[in-house]
């Protein structure tokens, strides 16, 4: 299944992980230590976030660090900008209509 950035932010735990990693890269264990959930649950969230491409993995020796990828998050802004544009267009049409009635 193709994942997108919206799935990344659709879950509160995943948003918390993103907020954490925005401050700096971490190992899976260090991430899991911040949450009450099981290590397995957190791993699953990390996997989804990686598939959504908002996290990237970097191996240093035997350790894996996860990095936040802010570029990917910009897709949400781009999409919302288009949503905003739709409203603008719609309201411009309403302006014209109000002139006519």
């Amino acid at each position: 299944m193709k994942r997108d950035v919206f799935q990344a932010i659709a879950d509160p735990t995943r948003r918390a992980i993103l907020a954490l990693l925005a401050l700096g890269a971490m190992t899976p264990n260090a991430i899991a230590a911040h949450f009450e959930s099981t290590r397995q649950t957190i791993s699953k969230h990390i996997q989804i976030l990686t598939e959504c491409e908002v996290l990237t993995q970097k191996k240093t020796g035997r350790e894996i660090h996860y990095h936040f990828n802010p570029e990917k998050m910009k897709e949400i802004d781009i999409w919302l900008e288009r949503f905003r544009k739709m409203w603008e267009d719609r309201f411009d049409q309403l302006d014209n209509l109000l002139n006519d009635i």
């Binding site: 919206f6 948003r15 288009r82 949503f83 309201f91 109000l98 009635i101």
Partner: protein, 163 residues
């Protein structure tokens, strides 16, 4: 032209807040938002048109309409009026549906609250759109596609790229 357009998003709160001022008296603006013949003229972002199948503008009543695309493609919406303060405010629950107004159980619901405030000869409209579920952010995406504006903008992108 100043129309004091505000578009704010609070994704963590699952909320979008829109404000817009219109250069017309409140009665006219209210009519444009609640009369199906008038809605058809502006609710669909071009080239899409909002075609109404039925509308019962009463509390508990339903507006069933389709966004009709340039190639005749139709995306149906079921909009239930949950509260009406005549001339100043109405709220709806909006879902995607089929042409008979059947909705999918568990489908995401958009809660709309539309307020109309007179300011001299002008009218300020305040729209608050909220969702119940975190996952409903996905619905926003689908709404975008429904409006066809993504498609429209892609076409514009192509056009601009070809220049």
């Amino acid at each position: 032209m100043t129309n004091n357009f505000v578009f704010e998003k609070d994704l963590a709160a699952k909320k979008i807040h829109v404000i817009r001022e219109f250069n017309a008296p409140i009665e006219k603006v209210w009519k444009a938002w609640t009369n199906p013949d008038l809605l058809e003229k502006w609710w669909g972002p071009k080239p899409w048109v909002a075609k109404t199948k039925s509308m019962d503008f009463t509390v508990g009543g339903v507006w069933l309409y389709a966004m009709v695309g340039p190639e005749g493609q139709k995306h149906w919406s079921y909009v239930k009026f949950t509260a009406i303060e005549n001339g100043s405010r109405f709220s709806t629950d909006a879902l995607f549906c089929d042409e008979d107004g059947n909705t999918i159980p568990g489908a995401p619901v958009g809660h709309w609250d539309n307020k109309f405030v007179a300011a001299g000869d002008k009218t300020k409209v305040v729209v608050d759109l909220t969702f119940d579920d975190e996952a409903d952010i996905k619905m926003l995406v689908e709404m975008g596609f429904e409006g066809g504006f993504t498609m429209g903008l892609n076409q514009l992108d192509e056009l601009l790229a070809a220049q």
